[in-house]
């Protein structure tokens, strides 16, 4: 069945006005995402990946560009017009403890969104809370508990149950496993995968963990200082990382070696992400780029297609 993508993001930019200066948080980002698929957003802190997630949800308003959800332009819908659409788009946060009221029981927290949207009777909603808890692998008695009584991993399952309560189409997962222990991370990743399959969910998966993004995503965008420097199908992008920044990110990951002789040399590029108030001229990555030439310092690179749906914003790519 041919259909339009669930989500279309077109040339979206976001600037924050901070103390009379413009901070460029997201610059002309475009991507499309089909229903049931996962878009991974990677980048270091300050790269704009979380801001982009919030722009898609219209929790922030874009300064430029368009966002189409299910074929409908939602860029300038009023809060009232947005409300029915909110059921279709949910978010899971990094810190489930901070995203839940400490005074609300788990059951009430999950039921809350359904109540706000006037879904079902009280009894029906409570039955649904039980179903959701079971679906995310928690005993139903958890509904009587308060957030502080649960572990980080259990709370993240509650966060997932709450996001699912409205049968959303799109779920933004904003660093959902970063605060969890390794053994719990895998459990949550597996749960997210199962839920995607069962409910045909579409994910935007935001993470600084490239390996997990590679594992979960169909499409990937690498962000640096608010700009997409490379994007494409996950398989293709990780097989042929082309932008020097993507390459640097991949080289910076410390893999567990098979043996001590195969350990990685601890070397890396100098410098850090520059201030977004005052981004470098030309290509914003040039001050840290091992391959930078004069043209990189002077001229902003254009997006170039280097493979099947694989594009790179770099002068040196061909």
């Amino acid at each position: 069945m041919p259909s339009s993508p669930l989500l279309q993001v077109e040339e979206v930019s976001k600037r924050f006005r901070v103390q009379g200066r413009d901070l460029h948080a997201v610059e002309k980002v475009s991507f499309q995402l089909d229903a049931g698929k996962t878009m991974g957003l990677v980048g270091e802190s300050g790269s704009g990946k979380s801001t982009l997630g919030r722009l898609v949800l219209r929790l922030l308003d874009a300064n430029e560009g368009r966002i189409l959800f299910d074929g409908k332009d939602i860029t300038s819908l009023s809060p009232k017009q947005m409300r029915p659409l909110r059921r279709d788009m949910q978010i899971i946060f990094q810190d489930p403890q901070a995203s839940m009221s400490p005074r609300m029981t788990i059951g009430a927290a999950i039921e809350d969104a359904m109540a706000i949207h006037n879904i079902g009777t009280k009894a029906e909603r409570q039955k649904r809370v039980d179903e959701l808890l079971e679906r995310v692998g928690l005993p139903t008695v958890v509904k009587y508990a308060f957030p502080h009584e649960l572990s980080g991993g259990q709370l993240q399952r509650v966060g997932i149950a709450r996001a699912l309560s409205l049968n959303p189409k799109l779920v933004i997962c904003d660093e959902p496993i970063s605060a969890l222990d390794v053994s719990i991370q895998v459990q949550v990743i597996q749960l997210l995968q199962e839920l995607q399959k069962d409910f045909n969910l579409t994910y935007i998966f935001i993470s600084h963990n490239l390996a997990v993004v590679e594992y979960l995503s169909d499409q990937v965008a690498v962000l640096y200082l608010g700009e997409v420097v490379e994007q494409g199908p996950a398989e293709e992008l990780f097989a042929n990382p082309t932008h020097p920044y993507t390459q640097v990110l991949l080289q910076s990951i410390l893999k567990m070696p098979d043996d001590t002789e195969k350990r990685q040399a601890l070397t890396s590029i100098q410098g850090e992400i520059p201030s977004p108030f005052n981004p470098p001229s030309g290509c914003t990555f040039h001050p840290r780029c091992p391959f930078a030439t004069d043209v990189c310092r002077e001229k902003k690179p254009e997006r170039k297609v280097v493979g099947n749906q694989h594009s790179v914003t770099c002068h040196l790519a061909n």
């Binding site: 270091e44 459990q187 490239l210 590679e214 640097v248 990951i253 410390l254 001590t260 601890l266 890396s268």
Partner: protein, 328 residues
């Protein structure tokens, strides 16, 4: 093996939570040799920080050291008066924490904070301490040391603040550096820079480093030897080589399998079921048994001792030999 710089023996630490007690460290023994890089890995609540912090007298008030010794160059830190311990901490043992923002003084120039440690410990006079601070800032890769000396912590990025923390920890040329999740809050490119810096300093100064981390990638690439903690007990202790090639504790194997690495798109996940326990009484059986695919009746009733299954390879598992055979 070189002589032990720090030897911890049968350390037991409990925390009073009012209604109950948490048994955070339950008979942990290990040592750090001169010049060695030791990785202490574990998940939250495993006791990896509490073990070393209690040896340094840096645990919260509701924490009690119930037994054990922690001998640094032969002297038991646990028996020292607070003043004596303060002398050693910051001079002979440097400490770096995860979050430099909460460890640095926000209203003191960073140069003064680095100097302070040298002056307090009478490592150097004012003039010399000033010169050495500039030298340290330079070695830590902080550009324009003279100008940056006068800046406050908030004027630095997270990575730069961590470099300043390391400068403070290294100021008095300690023999041992304890780094508690030193790169966890940092981006990968910055993590690499900090680890490279620590390695360079370690080689130059022949210093020992104990790095507390939840990250196997960091531990296996940086350390000579690795200790895996779970529920306040050592599950496995091995040279990094053995740890990589022949993990013999089911928990170690499970943890290693839990890590998703680049290039594993088609991999099946096999999570460790359940979650780590919080012990409110001393362990009487294997704390990992309820999550362990190898567990038998014996594991549920008898506490496995930490035993040496091959030279320098210690495992606390009744079935370590079978795990070894199985894992290959």
């Amino acid at each position: 093996m070189a002589e032990a710089l720090l030897a911890i023996d049968d350390l037991r630490v409990q925390f009073d939570r009012g209604e109950d007690e948490v048994f955070a460290v339950n008979g942990v023994s290990f040592s750090i040799a001169e010049g060695e890089a030791l990785g202490i890995v574990g998940e939250s609540g495993s006791g990896k920080s509490v073990t070393l912090m209690s040896a340094l007298g840096l645990i919260r008030e509701n924490g009690k050291i119930k037994s054990g010794t922690a001998k640094f160059q032969g002297h038991d830190l646990l028996k020292m008066r607070p003043r004596q311990l303060e002398d050693i901490r910051g001079r002979d043992i440097g400490v770096v924490f995860q979050d430099p923002m909460t460890s640095l003084n926000p209203v003191m120039r960073i140069g003064d904070q680095i100097m302070e440690s040298m002056l307090t410990h009478q490592y150097a006079g004012r003039r010399e301490a000033f010169e050495r601070t500039l030298q340290l800032l330079h070695e830590m890769g902080i550009p324009e040391p003279k100008a940056r000396f006068r800046n406050y912590p908030h004027e630095f990025s997270g990575g730069m603040r961590q470099r300043i923390m390391i400068a403070i920890a290294l100021a008095c040329e300690p023999q041992l550096l304890i780094a508690d999740e030193p790169t966890t809050a940092l981006d990968v490119t910055v993590q690499m820079q900090i680890l490279a810096l620590l390695q360079e300093q370690r080689q130059k100064k022949r210093m020992s480093i104990a790095i507390i981390t939840h990250d196997f990638g960091v531990a296996t690439n940086f350390c000579d030897r690795i200790i895996v903690l779970y529920a306040g007990q050592i599950m496995e202790m091995a040279d990094t080589r053995q740890f990589l090639r022949q993990p013999a504790h089911p928990y170690t194997v499970g943890l290693k399998n839990s890590i998703i690495e680049i290039g594993q798109r088609d991999r099946q996940l096999s999570p460790i079921p359940g979650m780590a326990p919080t012990l409110t009484e001393p362990p009487k059986s294997c704390s990992f048994a309820s999550r362990c695919p190898f567990a038998t009746e014996r594991c549920r009733s008898e506490l496995p001792a930490l035993r040496e299954i091959s030279p320098n390879h210690h495992v606390a598992c009744h079935r370590a030999e079978e795990v070894l055979a199985h894992a290959i």
